[in-house]
């Protein structure tokens, strides 16, 4: 009886294994007869998919020997999560154009990326496009280059011209005092119904780490004259600039210029917000969805009253990388060059309204017609050289999370002073960094 049962189980296992092997064999055979192909992952927003589709089609018409298959990034909470999962599962594409520099450290440590400066024509090609200084900001800790600077989205302040005019406020608002004074004039009851008609600004009050990339971080870069959170490996945000930024937003909430609420729908386009912190992608969005007569302007991030010097901001860069799993690294590199060609950069501007990381963008005749047609985009192009990315340090997500928690406690709920909150954030980041050090 026992022998019979064991026999049946073994028999089933053998059949299942044979079926598995057979399937694998046939899959391998099929793959071997497949032609060479590169897989390219792009971001999921419709404009970038349209751009990628067009560039891939053009490439495929000329390069029939190594065609490119386009896929959008798999659905996930963030593209970094999708890429990490792909590295873990060994299912990465050959090339991806949605690489956030803040997550590069993990990808590089995992040995998931091709070192690009090993290609003999890397330097001449890349330096023709990007300045050496800017390129350095994307250099890995091991001195290598694993990402091709592709596009930047300088974070600036959009404002509703009609609301500003109604309140008698003149743009641009350059300093914190000017911004707060304007908020005082704008957040008022104009129609006499007992409620303020507009908010000056709105930010999601949930302390999600990446929210800080659109309030604290660009304001900090601006207030500090272009600093990022770290100087090399050392914490560098334990300073007055940080405190001033926390204090500025704290005042905005305390005086009721920003609501402690969660809104559904776009309140800026609905005409309830006087200003919005965003990147150039908002231009295309406004053009598509804004109601008739909606007039807007764009101004730089406001600075502390005593700050002197150029106005910097966060650049929200997205870059291109080639994954180690590629069978055709040289061809992938060629395709990457195509994605950052002058023609592709022009289409990036035209289709996505995003700024390519390219020298002399405003003086290059290729792009002149575009900027003439969309003058508001010149504001971003002019700001582009004065942008900063994020530090290539480990656990950046958690570091921003620590800042977010303190931001929430101090700025939104007013439970601790700005200085105290910055101190606590630094202390927590120190623990994270100390723990991470070998």
């Amino acid at each position: 009886m026992v022998k019979k049962i064991v026999g049946i189980i073994v028999g089933i296992l053998v059949i299942l294994m044979a079926m598995g092997c057979g399937r694998r064999d046939s899959a391998q055979q099929q793959r071997s007869v497949e032609k060479k192909e590169l897989t390219y992952w792009c971001a999921t927003n419709p404009q970038e998919v349209k751009l990628a589709r067009e560039l891939v089609d053009e490439w495929n018409r000329i390069h029939k020997d190594v065609p490119v298959k386009l896929q959008t990034l798999p659905a996930s909470q963030s593209s970094e999560e999708a890429l990490l999962a792909a590295i873990a599962g060994n299912t990465t594409p050959d090339i991806c154009s949605n690489m956030w520099p803040g997550a590069m450290d993990e990808f590089i440590s995992a040995g998931g990326l091709v070192r690009l400066d090993t290609f003999p024509d890397f330097w001449p090609y890349i330096l023709e496009r990007v300045s050496e200084d800017q390129l350095k900001t994307f250099q890995a800790r091991d001195g290598g280059h694993y990402q091709i600077p592709w596009k930047t989205n300088p974070i600036m302040v959009f404002y509703n011209k009609r609301i500003f005019k109604k309140a008698g406020v003149k743009a641009p608002l350059e300093t914190y005092s000017q911004f707060l004074d304007a908020a005082e004039k704008i957040v008022r009851d104009f129609d006499g119904d007992g409620q303020a008609d507009y908010w000056m600004l709105y930010r999601d009050i949930k302390p999600i780490w990446w929210q800080r990339l659109f309030d604290y971080y660009p304001f900090y870069i601006c207030a500090s004259g272009g600093k990022t959170l770290f100087k090399g490996d050392k914490i560098d945000f334990d300073n007055d600039a940080s405190v001033k930024v926390f204090q500025f937003f704290r005042t905005m909430y305390q005086k009721g210029y920003m609501p402690v609420a969660q809104f559904q729908g776009d309140q800026f386009l609905a005409g309830r917000l006087a200003a919005q912190i965003s990147g150039p992608w908002l231009v295309a969005y406004i053009q598509k969805f804004a109601p008739e007569g909606f007039e807007y302007g764009i101004m730089p991030i406001p600075r502390p009253d005593d700050y002197k010097g150029p106005i910097y901001t966060y650049g929200d860069p997205k870059n291109i990388s080639i994954f180690k799993t590629t069978k055709y690294p040289r061809q992938a590199w060629k395709f990457a060059q195509w994605l950052i060609s002058r023609h592709a950069d022009l289409r990036l501007l035209e289709i996505c309204d995003q700024i390519p990381i390219r020298k002399n963008l405003l003086n290059d005749s290729t792009f002149a017609a575009y900027f003439k047609k969309k003058p508001q985009m010149t504001v971003f192009a002019r700001q582009a050289p004065f942008t900063r990315g994020v530090d290539g340090v480990a656990d950046l997500k958690e570091i921003f999370n620590a800042i977010s928690q303190e931001y929430e406690a101090s700025v939104i709920y007013g439970r601790r002073t700005a200085r105290e909150a910055v101190k606590r954030a630094v202390k927590r980041v120190k623990v994270i960094r100390e723990w991470n050090r070998q």
Partner: protein
Amino acid sequence: MINSVIRRIKKSDKIGYLMSLPYLISFALFIAFPLGFSFILIFHKWNIITPMRWVGLKNFYRLFHDVEFLRAIYNTLIFLVIHIPLQIVFALLIAVLLNQKIKLRGFFRAVYFMPVIVSGVVITILWQQLYSYETGLLNLMLTSIGLPRIPWINDPSWAMPSIAIMATWKNVGLYIVLFLVGLQNIPAYLYESAELDGASAWQKFRYITVPALNSTMVLVVILSTIGGFSLFIEPFVMTGGGPMNSTLSAMLYIYNQAFYFGHMGYAATLGFFFAFIIFVVVLIQKRIVENK
């Protein structure tokens, strides 16, 4: 004769082993191996994609400097302090009522038990709507009788009590069943003789029901403590741990460390440390309740 009996026993042993094989395999795969592996992880930093890196006791260094984890434990204890008494009081009262000979008794028993079997995520989403500051039913009821709105899950002081109320509502049915079983095991003659002695309803409850339910009480306290310590779905779905980390439970923090920040080793350290805390608390609780 003896030989054939021995052969039969041996034979049945083999069948026994064979029958328990699925459990043994699943135990090895899903309990023993993860437990052993997470113990190894305690001494490593690992985010699944990069190679495991030996960090010695650094995960413990971080644990004892981690104010957010301390906050998460504090929150969990606050939750327990609110949740356990609420759970016991309501479960006991409703069980006593449902133990009477009332109409539709079976129906009420089923109704109270229903939330226990409904998905926690579904219930949390429903309660999220109820708690909504602007449009929630609870605030509409309050304003309709002239009372001010309550920022149930939008204010750091209110958020954890709100979650405790919801969790009590969801789980109380299970403890009602346990108390009902306990109540039905109390011999009727105890009440009859108390009645002959002229005991009031409260005296019968105080001096017969409560002492007779002592062992059930121990079970309920321990189960709701362990259940309370594993608070996860409610803050995960409803508040994400906010506002101001006021609903960040220890389990949610461990989950965030593992799957949001990719710190598998640190999460394992937190997990073991937290399991130790649960063990100590339950032990103390058991002693206290039993001595009573």
